[in-house]
């Protein structure tokens, strides 16, 4: 076997990179909220592609190992303990049969990742193991994990070369005020100059009605020229929609495929992890960058992941 869930936590799901190829029929992409933390966890365990991992939101799960397997924890700091002893995050560690891994409330960040050296044995649904809660597909029976659920780990590894190198600096999500880089959105011209200025120069606060679907922000209303209704079109990860209230909503992993509100901007992909890990109350400053800068940062991110994989494997 692999693992048994003793406590489910607040919202623990199986996620991978996402379910691509079905947006044309109305299926959300889903997938991890913080791709960077998720990929680091995989790299520490010798995986070029992380595959599927557990994603926990705010309150982590308690898990019993039913088989020996290496694991790694990244993302939000949920003060992890193994059999009651504090353990480090961003390290490859061995969980032995009968060991209990317990995560508590996140002290920093929102989303924590638990990856295993092996493949999580849940069915591939439409090309992905990601849980889509709305459609109740993917992951573990299409739902959040609960006490008593068991998931096998296929090809579980208990040893990897260079164990002493399998760690990475902790990415702490401690900042309560952040700069988030954005690109102009497809409907940026729907907004007045003052509207755009408000968006880029005032401060927005992450509200507690933020979830895997979208982050709702509080702050100065963004003024449009002639309303914000558009003929519905596709919504990318990080798209910043302006609804009639003028208060921005950033669309996240579980966003619907199509939307009818104008999109003033799109968060640069490299800043999505930092945004995803922003708790309610976090203050955001949006900074406009060009597509050239954003894609240069994307290539740098990819190079960092390659470097990390090589340095630890």
């Amino acid at each position: 076997m692999g693992i048994r869930i003793l406590e489910g936590g607040a919202l623990t799901t199986v996620q991978d990179r996402g379910r691509y190829g079905y947006q044309s029929t109305g299926f959300s992409v889903s997938g991890v909220m913080d791709r960077r933390s998720f990929q680091i966890a995989g790299a520490l365990l010798g995986k070029r592609e992380t595959g599927a991992a557990l994603e926990a939101a705010l309150l982590g799960p308690t898990i019993e190992f039913t088989e020996d397997v290496l694991f790694a924890l990244t993302g939000a700091d949920m003060k992890p303990k193994l059999n009651g002893w504090e353990i480090p995050m961003y390290h490859a560690l061995l969980g032995k049969r009968g060991d209990v891994l317990s995560l508590g409330f996140a002290v920093t960040g929102v989303y924590g990742y638990i990856a295993f050296a092996g493949e999580m044995d849940v069915p591939v649904v439409m090309g992905s193991k990601s849980t889509n809660l709305k459609c109740r597909i993917g992951g573990y029976e299409g739902r959040t994990l609960e006490r008593g659920d068991e998931i096998g780990i296929l090809g579980a590894k208990t040893k990897l070369p260079n164990m002493y190198k399998r760690y990475e600096d902790i990415h702490a999500f401690t900042e309560t005020e952040k700069e988030i880089r954005v690109l102009a959105g497809p409907e940026a011209d729907y907004f007045t100059e003052e509207g755009m200025r408000a968006f880029l120069e005032s401060v927005y606060t992450v509200t507690d009605s933020s979830d895997r679907m979208g982050y709702r922000l509080e702050g100065e209303a963004v003024a449009s020229r002639r309303g914000v209704d558009i003929i519905s079109n596709g919504i990318a990860f990080g798209a910043v929609q302006i609804p009639p209230s003028g208060k921005p909503i950033v669309m996240m992993a579980d966003r619907q495929t199509m939307g009818g509100y104008a999109k003033i901007a799109n968060v640069a992909t490299v800043d999505l992890p930092e945004l995803a890990q922003s708790r309610s109350g976090t203050k955001l400053h949006f900074k406009m960058i060009t597509i050239e800068e954003a894609q240069k940062l994307l290539r740098r991110e990819k190079a960092y992941m390659r470097y990390l994989y090589r340095a630890t494997n």
Binding site: S24, G26, G185, G234, N266, A268, T269, Q295, L298
Partner: protein, 230 residues
């Protein structure tokens, strides 16, 4: 093909716009571009999502730069022949317009002044273009309902609409692929499972196809019922 605009939608997507209106002409352009991407993907392509008059194209911005990707799309678009009409398939959906499956038939009859028989004839008497799928998996935005059938939504939405329900909401008609809350006037139900994640093709139709509702009796509904009765 001409008359398109390519806009950035972040560093991993572009939105190709074929006019800013809900029309068969714009939708046909979007459809043929979408199908051409499916048939012959361009470098960096992840997937594409067609809507009323746009196609949002998702790509890997770490593999190909925006200007290069936009150039590939432009080249493809210019090489495409213009289609005046969507060239999709016509999908027949059997619908029982009777009894419990048509709880709001009398509402629609009262509002329109048409008899149930006339409503069924008008509703099933033409093909509906699927402009796009969205809102729910497999939920088709259909165009072209006979205006005589227009009926406002229910004053209070239902908490649960059964999968397969066919309804009218204002000037639109549609079909619910899975259980959902909703305020449409329900005039029928199909026994066909429209969406099944385990099927090789989870949704039976795609944007650009046309739907034809074929009236069936309660008995035929039971014989065809893929859910095994509910």
């Amino acid at each position: 093909m001409e008359g398109f605009v390519i806009r950035q939608a972040g560093d991993m997507a572009v939105c190709v716009e074929f006019g800013n209106e809900v029309s068969e002409t714009c939708n046909a352009k979007a459809g043929s571009f979408y199908r051409s991407l499916l048939a012959a993907p361009v470098k960096g392509l992840i997937e594409a999502a067609p809507a009323f008059c746009t196609v949002t194209v998702y790509y890997d911005g770490s593999v190909i730069r925006y200007d290069r990707f936009a150039a590939l799309l432009r080249k493809r678009l210019l090489s495409l022949k213009e289609e005046k009409r969507a060239s999709g398939r016509t999908i027949e959906i059997p619908v029982c317009y009777e009894g419990d499956y048509a709880p709001d038939m009398m509402n629609v009859s009262q509002h329109t002044g048409l008899s149930p028989k006339e409503i069924i004839e008008l509703h099933s008497g033409r093909d509906y273009l699927i402009y796009m799928l969205g809102f729910l998996p497999g939920f088709p935005y259909l165009g072209g309902m006979d205006e005589r059938l227009s009926t406002p939504r229910l004053p209070a939405p239902r908490v649960r609409i059964e999968p397969g329900s066919v309804g009218i909401g204002g000037k639109q008609t549609g079909i619910y692929p899975l259980a959902s809350p909703g305020g449409w006037q329900l005039i029928g139900r199909t026994p066909v499972i429209l969406y099944d994640a385990k099927r090789e093709t989870p949704v039976l139709y795609e944007a650009g196809d046309r739907i034809r509702f074929v009236p069936i009796s309660k008995k035929e509904f039971d014989a065809l019922d893929e859910r095994g009765g509910n």
